[in-house]
Amino acid sequence: MASIFEVRDTSAKVGDAGALVAASINKFGDVPVMDWQYNLMLQGRVFIGGAGIEATDPDGEAALNDTTPTYVLRAPDSGYVVVPLFVRLQLTSEGGAAPDAYLTLINSNLDDPIVYTSGTACTVLNALGGQRNAHQSKFVSTVTIAAVTSAQNVVIWQAKDMPDNMLSVIAVDPDGGSTESLGDPISTIEIPLFPHIPIALTKGGMLAFYTATGTSDSKYRPTFVWAELPDTIL
C-alpha cells in the first residue's frame, strides 16, 4: 500500500486544487501543519481594518449610548461567517474627565439582526495583499444602529473612569513610574481574541467599540483583524 505521507524537505507546490496527493512529513517523520488562520490568509480571506497613518480619527461619544458605537465590525445578514481574530485600540486624543470605553459582542440570537443604519467606512485591506477578495463585512466608524438590549450583548472588555490625562501628563511623567513605553503603552488596549475567545459573527452579529467621554470627545484609532468564510461551513 502506498504511504499516505511523503517526506518533503522543501515548500514547493505538490499539486493544484483537486489533485490527490500524499500529505507531507519532514525528514524526522513529523507532520507539518498549517495554522488555520494562515491558510485562510493565503486564500485571501483575512482582512485588516482601521485607519491610515495620516487619517483623521473620528470623535467619540459624549455618553454611552447603545445605538451609537464609535467602531463596529458587522457580519452580513447572510452568506458569510466573520471570525474576529484581533482588536487593538489606541487613544489618540484625550477628551474630558473620566473617559469610558467598552468592547462588546452584539448578537440578537434570533436570526433577526440588529439593524445597521449608518456609518463611515474605515480602510480595509486584504491581509494577502494584491487584488484579492473584497471584504463582505462592514467595518465602520461613527455608527448608528438600532437599540441593543442587555440580553443581546455581553461586554468583553471595558475601561471605565480612566484618567483624562493619559497622553499629556501620565505618559510623559517619568516620576510617575507609568511612562508610555513602546511595548506596553498605557493608552492602548490589545485584545488577541484568537485563540482564547472564539467568536463568529453571523446574521448581522457585531463587535462594537463604544466610547463615552463627557465635556469633550476622546478619539481612538482601531486595528481589527478578521477572517471571512462562506456560511456553507455551518
Binding site: 500529505a23 462588546t104 475601561a159 484618567p163 488596549i189 446574521k203 462562506p230
Partner: protein
C-alpha cells in the same frame, strides 16, 4: 483512494456522513482547524456576562462565605461537559476596606454535585450568532451554593486585601506608579484558561467567582467564554 486532496478554497465539500479526503495545501501541508473554532462553527461556544448598559452586581458585604457566589459557571449534573476558555472580571464600583477576589474550581470528584440553589441568569450569547443551540451550563450571578470543603476546590486566582481605592485614587494617581491604563488594568483581571489551564466541568462542577468586601459592597462585571460538548 488517496486520503488527502489539495484544496485552496474554503467551501463545503460534503454534508455529514460522507467519506471525503482531508485537505492539504499546495505544499502538501495538512490544514487544521483549532478544536475550539470547530466547536464554535458547530454552535457550541458561548459567552456569558453582562450587557453594556446592564446594572452591575453587588458583591458580598460580609466576611467571605463560600455559599455566597457572585458569579458561577456550572456544568449540568449530567449530559454535558463544559470547557471554560476565558474569564475576565472588572471591578466597576469600589466598596469598603480590603476587598477580596477569588476564582476557584469546585469539583467533588464524587459524582455528587455541589448544589447551587438560587441565582439569576447572566446574559448568555451563542458565539456563532443567529438562532443556534442554547447553553446547557448555568452562568449565574448572586448565586447560593451548598457548602463545600477545602478538599473540593482549588483556587485558580485570588487577590486578597486589594486596595479599596483602586478606581478613585490608585488608578488616577500618576505619582503612585499605578495608573489605570487601558491594557493591563489594575482594576481588572484577565484569565485566558485556554490553552494553559485545561478544565472540563462535568457532573455539576463549577468555576466560582467571588468578590467579598466588608462594610460596603464592591461591584464587578464578568466575562465567561466556554465550550460545551456531550458527556463522554
Amino acid at each position: 483512494m488517496a486520503e488527502f486532496i489539495v484544496r485552496n478554497t474554503v467551501g463545503k465539500v460534503a454534508d455529514a456522513g460522507v467519506l471525503k479526503e482531508a485537505s492539504v495545501n499546495k505544499f502538501g501541508d495538512l490544514i487544521t482547524i483549532p478544536w475550539q473554532y470547530n466547536l464554535l462553527m458547530q454552535g457550541k461556544v458561548f459567552m456569558g456576562g453582562m450587557g453594556i448598559e446592564a446594572t452591575d452586581i453587588d458583591g458580598q458585604d460580609e466576611s467571605f462565605e463560600e455559599q455566597d457566589v457572585e458569579y458561577c459557571l456550572k456544568a449540568p449534573d449530567s449530559g454535558t461537559i463544559v470547557i471554560p476558555l476565558y474569564v475576565r472580571v472588572q471591578l466597576t464600583t469600589e466598596g469598603g476596606a480590603a476587598p477580596d477576589f477569588y476564582l476557584t474550581y469546585v469539583n467533588t470528584n464524587l459524582n455528587t454535585p455541589i448544589a447551587i440553589s438560587t441565582g439569576t441568569a447572566c446574559t448568555v450569547i451563542n458565539c456563532l450568532g443567529g438562532q443556534h443551540a442554547a447553553n446547557e451550563a448555568k452562568c449565574y450571578y448572586t448565586a447560593t451554593s451548598a457548602e463545600y470543603t477545602s478538599a473540593q476546590n482549588v483556587v485558580l486566582w485570588q487577590n486578597k486585601d486589594a486596595p479599596d481605592d483602586l478606581l478613585s485614587v490608585v488608578g488616577v494617581d500618576a505619582d503612585g506608579g499605578h495608573i489605570e491604563a487601558m491594557d493591563n488594568r489594575i482594576s481588572a483581571k484577565t484569565i485566558p484558561l485556554f490553552p494553559h489551564i485545561p478544565i472540563g466541568l462535568a457532573k455539576g462542577a463549577s468555576l466560582n467567582l467571588y468578590a467579598s468586601t466588608q462594610t460596603s459592597d464592591s461591584k464587578t462585571r464578568p466575562t465567561f467564554v466556554w465550550a460545551e460538548i456531550p458527556e463522554l
